[in-house]
Symmetry: C2
Amino acid sequence: MSEKAAHTRDKGKTRRRLLAAARELFYGDGIHATGVSAVAERAGVTKMTLYAHFPSKGDLVTAYLEDSDRRWQELLEEKLSGHEDPLDKLLAVCDAYREYFTTREMRGCAFVNCAAEFPDPDHPARRVIQQHKAGVRERLRGLAAEAGAENPATLAERLFVVLEGAYVAGALEVDRGVLDRSCAFFADLVQSAVRNQTRS
Amino acid sequence: MSEKAAHTRDKGKTRRRLLAAARELFYGDGIHATGVSAVAERAGVTKMTLYAHFPSKGDLVTAYLEDSDRRWQELLEEKLSGHEDPLDKLLAVCDAYREYFTTREMRGCAFVNCAAEFPDPDHPARRVIQQHKAGVRERLRGLAAEAGAENPATLAERLFVVLEGAYVAGALEVDRGVLDRSCAFFADLVQSAVRNQTRS
DNA sequence: GCATTTATATATACCGGTAAGTATAATTAA
DNA sequence: TTAATTATACTTACCGGTATATATAAATGC
């Protein structure tokens, strides 16, 4: 049905198509290597239409990042909702990471890659990146506390470092197993941090 | 003495100047965002001279990566030579990482950043990146074995993941402390992997 | 010691391609 | 009628890379 229906008057739909195209191309090929014309073409619209939705390429980039963050959060919360025990919830973060990683091509973290392309710390895109990473860390900290870790802040930061490291290592190595082994690493850290807790 | 001596006939010196310029600009601003003219200008030479040393920008990029890897290895081996005990050597790898990181601006790993800009796994630059990371992992594995870790391969991979994670986390956060805290993390991992060893 | 050759670098202009972004007019669907 | 989109052409700017002709320092030959 939605085959030849490129002539939809639904503005939201066009915007979603543009964001989907931006996601594929920006993430897959890099941002500087992707022209706005290519994004428009992938979305099946004209460059003029793209500029009707996003005033500049920079705005499209930040919208792409915000959209990616939103999608990540949805995936994470869905994963978390499948568990009751706070310890299981904590472990589920790692699963979400792995799933998010393996779904997308082995291109590493979209936010890290974007930061590599935009060195200026004051660039608007960096704000979104910062917020995304801060969100992950904050979530980990809360779950670590709920799980009863001795030092939730330390555990959360270490888990965060492991996740980031596994992400880049998995993107660079042909060997995909590092992802799975890092999940075991993650679980070991959680276990040893919660084992010697003061049981309530 | 070497002030106004831009008219040196030393080919090696010009090449070094070009590589230094490439390092600063490629690393600091990104590769796609840096034009060959900018590199030549920074090196104080003409674009023609650049192309007399490197047949294309791609070749300059791979030379830049090879040079970076060589510099990293020199720093690492110098750090390692300051210790006798294999356990201290292992810990020194983390110090080398931190020093290498803080010397250069907070822009993360040059190899990871380059991989973000060159998605094609068959791109020549990716070969250098792969070799660099494989070298780090191999070194860690050897030192872990010498230090008498129970499972050197597992420890080495985990340490590698921590180093990579700390690198990207430090580059994204304004907080520089994550680097130092990750070194403590690194040390903890080493300690607990060596503690329960079968003493020879 | 002096001229010549050769390697290295300069200066400058150019080419084809592509990028981001704009202008304008026609078209489509509600 | 009106908002959304198309189609096409355009501007300005920069990119990687080349062409051409010149200048200079050092090694070479006599």
